[in-house]
Amino acid sequence: MSNQPDRSALGNLQDKTAIVGVGTTEFGAIYRDLDPERSAYELGLIAFREALKDAGLKRTDVDGVIVSRLPHYGRMCEMIGLRHPRFVNVLPGEGRQSGIALQYAALAVANGMADVVACIYGNNGRSAGAKYGGESRGISTQAMFEAPYGMTSPGAVTSMMFRRHQYRYGTTTEPLGHLAISNRANAALNPNAVMQRPITMDDYHGARYIAEPLCLLDYCLINDGGVCFIVTSAERARDLKHTPVLIHATSQASDITPVYVADDFWHEPMSQIADDLFANSEAQRDDLAFAQLYDNFTPTMLFTLEGMGFCEPGEGGDWITPERIGLHGEMPLNTGGGHTSESYMQGWALHVEAVRQLRQECGDRQVDDAQYGLYACAAPLATGHILKRDN
């Protein structure tokens, strides 16, 4: 990269803002109850109501709204009776946007654009029959140069990257199995998770292929749900119900290519994010009580661990062991069950899990000494944060 920007100003955001309320819909219950009339807005509304209650705030305290996957902010604001918001934004329904929603909320609050920002996500994909593959209409690159070969779906591009990783480093699918099994074991301790029946390595190796080398158990679920988190200043947060969860350090980096994949498995953006986070925090890797890693497909977690320096490039396969990544291991991963077992809320529920862990509310799946926790999403547009329990 030429012209290295000065990234030290990222530290200006440190501990200025906090997540003060989180809410979700039910995930497991509505998975088994398809409803073609279930709207994403309704799911967002339920999550918003839960988050407000959790924060101990009134509807009228909210003066900023960021929506994602919801087509229009107007309908959401109308449904929550918010006629005069002073900060509004709409983010597309891509998983990489959940971390960005938190960043915008923190920026808005820290700079006086709003006092209380509600970030609202609603996803009725399962009821609406979303397949996340097979699109071939219009004049997109996908329709013109991928669909004619049957190339489609985010899972297939991730599978391409994983095959390359196998070739380059000799990685096997065994560590992916460990990730899927660990997610499921955590979900079994999460009453709201969609998939709670534990799985074994035999189950993993016996699962049907979707885009080989990846199989069904490498894939996120497709389910309905809504998530909301509410952000305000750290100062105001200290007068509210819960111990504030501070937005301690955050960063964004990218590698945008026409074919989605990155030859270095996103090492460059993820290592940039790790550098930013640890340069702007008293916490280092060993101080993190957990990592919530974006797991649209299990290899994404492996790429994130390598990119963020938990191990060297190519060593992820050896680093990922059940002992290390389990709830009481040295780096518990996706403690609520992640996208493969809890709920596919495109990163939003991973944020909620991080907050609940830091507030020590996770019951049987609570990790030890949760003072700092990591969220990270590897993708062409990548994000990461360190969240911190206020002292």
């Binding site: 013109m144 049957g150 599978s159 095959r163 070739y167 994949v261």
Partner: protein
């Protein structure tokens, strides 16, 4: 119109690429057995998929130029999931490859003339063509012979 040219059209229901003013030269080339991509006349950069301007100069002073047709398999998958109509049951799993062209850009395609068991990343390949109908001929890749 002969029977030969009608038959594949009637039986072909895999996705077909829409042909735009921008991409027509690409498909015209494929029909004649020539793989070409855009090159900037100012800075010589080449790129794919097609775009209205050079991503470096941002100028529209570019032209289509034939390329070597050589590349390597960056990676490949076998697709088992039935996302699209048009692939018959006995065609599953089908192979999709991401080709790194010798000139730099990447291109999704498929492989011919090789068993899946023999495919590997970094395999040297060269372009071949498969006629679909009178308008569309798809570039595909086979193991390099030269």
């Amino acid at each position: 119109m002969t029977t030969e040219s009608q038959t594949p059209e009637l039986s072909y229901d895999k996705p077909l690429p829409p042909v735009l003013e921008l991409t027509k030269p690409f498909w015209d080339g494929c029909r004649e057995g020539i793989l070409q991509i855009q090159f900037c006349n100012i800075c010589d950069l080449s790129w794919f998929p097609p775009a209205e301007a050079c991503p470096r100069c941002l100028q529209d002073d570019w032209e289509w130029r034939p390329i070597s047709g050589h590349g390597t398999v960056w990676s490949w998958i076998r697709m088992w999931q039935k996302y699209f109509p048009g692939w018959s049951p006995d065609e599953y799993p089908y192979t999709v490859a991401l080709i790194k062209l010798e000139e730099g850009p990447y291109m999704y395609s498929t492989l011919v003339g090789i068993d899946d068991a023999d495919v590997s990343c970094d395999l040297a390949v060269e372009v071949d063509f498969r006629k679909v109908n009178d308008e569309i001929t798809l570039p595909v890749f086979r193991p390099a012979t030269t």
